[in-house]
């Protein structure tokens, strides 16, 4: 799961096992990475930036990752798992198929409001991180689309158009979030979260 805050290590002697220390450092590094790529963009961010922002030594960094891309993809995987977890949990909450989908998408928007740096690193910068970044984003949308499929079908879709409609529904909301996330306009993101309630999110469900 995506760490909500940095854990501070106690300076000086402590009895934390080395593996645990490394895990705390990894989480601190990944949070630092989301701040840096959000601020400078993926392409312009360097390992040196990540060291400066996280306070990690070069040696610890390279114990964890071979390069910037590996570090980015690890952060993406954690953030994507958080988004997916929240969306699928929210999917259980709605009364009918349309409301379930709405509630899942609202959960994604809520994550963006709460963690704009992590959300921007995941949903905006993945599109600037070359083929691996785009593939990771596409996989996330594919997993969400699979989770939405039964409800999309309950709304009348069938066959290959189920997957296309699910992707279009998720992609539509990602598009709305994209601009405000790129600008880190949290106020606009909060408005959007409320507006998802009124959107004709699923074309089939518009009556």
């Amino acid at each position: 799961m995506w760490p909500r805050a940095d854990v501070k290590l106690i300076a000086g002697p402590h009895d934390m096992p080395p593996a645990e220390v490394l895990e705390v450092q990894r989480q601190r590094l990944l949070r630092a990475l989301t701040r840096m790529v959000t601020r400078k963009g993926y392409a312009a961010t360097t390992v040196r930036d990540l060291l400066g922002e996280s306070g990690l030594s070069r040696r610890t960094y390279y114990d964890l990752y071979v390069d910037k891309e590996a570090c980015y993809l690890d952060a993406f995987a954690l953030i994507a798992a958080e988004i997916e977890g929240r969306a699928t949990a929210a999917l259980e909450e709605g009364e009918d198929p349309e409301e379930r989908i709405r509630s899942a998408l609202r959960a994604v928007a809520t994550f963006c409001v709460q963690e704009p740096d992590a959300a921007c690193a995941c949903l905006v910068e993945s599109l600037a991180a070359g083929q691996p970044g785009r593939d990771a984003r596409s996989d996330l949308i594919g997993r969400l689309a699979d989770a939405f499929a039964p409800d999309i079908e309950a709304l009348g879709a069938s066959g290959p158009s189920t997957a296309i409609l699910a992707r279009a529904t998720i992609g539509g909301v990602f598009e709305l979030l994209y601009g405000p996330l790129a600008r880190r306009d949290v106020e606009r993101l909060a408005d959007l979260r409320d507006e998802i309630g009124d959107l004709p999110l699923v074309p089939l469900a518009a009556r």
Binding site: A128, R134, A168, G172, E175, P200, P203, L204, A206
Partner: protein, 207 residues
């Protein structure tokens, strides 16, 4: 205008108008930029890689553009202007038809253009998202224009429903996500996809 095949200039002394020569050279650079970006991805393209493909001198390049970003954005702007002209023409040709039919014509025109020029399609839909804040702004402006067209069609088709600009943006964004995936996967048959997208959005319009 986006030129389908880069025009060759006669070698040696010629009495051609310098403005015409500059225009032909500009088109060759834009064409070469699209090919270089399709091959290598925006981040890995350099002016040298563009020059290899355009077969023009470095001097000529720098007379016309300051850097690769400028050439890329010029290629983007030219392609989008041409695509939007086609969309507007397609809508105008169906001016008397019901909104659903005009939407179908617009989607056909847009995807027809992209299918003819796979490298330009990649540049406009995928690589522009890797071209930094300016690329993002250019893309946002294009999405705004498409969303305006969609909003007008929605308002006309469904005056009973308050489908505002946010709904239009989500629909256009959803269609773009599906298109993005098709281009990523190298699916050449964009026209079948066009029919699918139009069909689902028609269901929204027809209610």
């Amino acid at each position: 205008m986006w030129d389908q095949a880069a025009t060759k200039l006669p070698a040696g002394p010629h009495g051609l108008d310098p403005a015409l020569v500059a225009r032909v050279q500009r088109e060759r650079i834009l064409d070469a930029t699209a090919r270089a970006v399709a091959d290598l991805g925006y981040q890995d393209v350099t002016v040298a890689k563009i020059l290899d493909r355009a077969r023009i001198s470095k001097l000529t390049f720098y007379e016309l553009f300051d850097n690769k970003e400028q050439a890329f954005l010029a290629a983007y702007d030219d392609a989008v202007a041409q695509a939007l002209r086609r969309v507007e023409r397609a809508c105008a040709a169906e001016a008397l038809a019901p909104p659903a039919q005009r939407l179908e014509a617009a989607v056909d025109a847009l995807l027809g253009f992209l299918a003819e020029e796979p490298e330009v399609a990649r540049l406009c839909v995928i690589e522009v998202l890797a071209a930094g804040p300016t690329g993002r702004q250019r893309r946002a402006a294009t999405m705004d224009r498409l969303a305006d067209l969609m909003a007008a069609l929605l308002a006309e088709a469904r005056p009973d429903r308050d489908l505002g600009p946010i709904a239009a943006r989500a629909l256009v964004g959803g269609a773009e996500e599906v298109l993005f995936t098709a281009i990523e996967r190298g699916e050449s048959d964009l026209t079948a996809l066009a029919a699918e997208i139009a069909a689902t959005q028609l269901r929204l319009i027809d209610g």
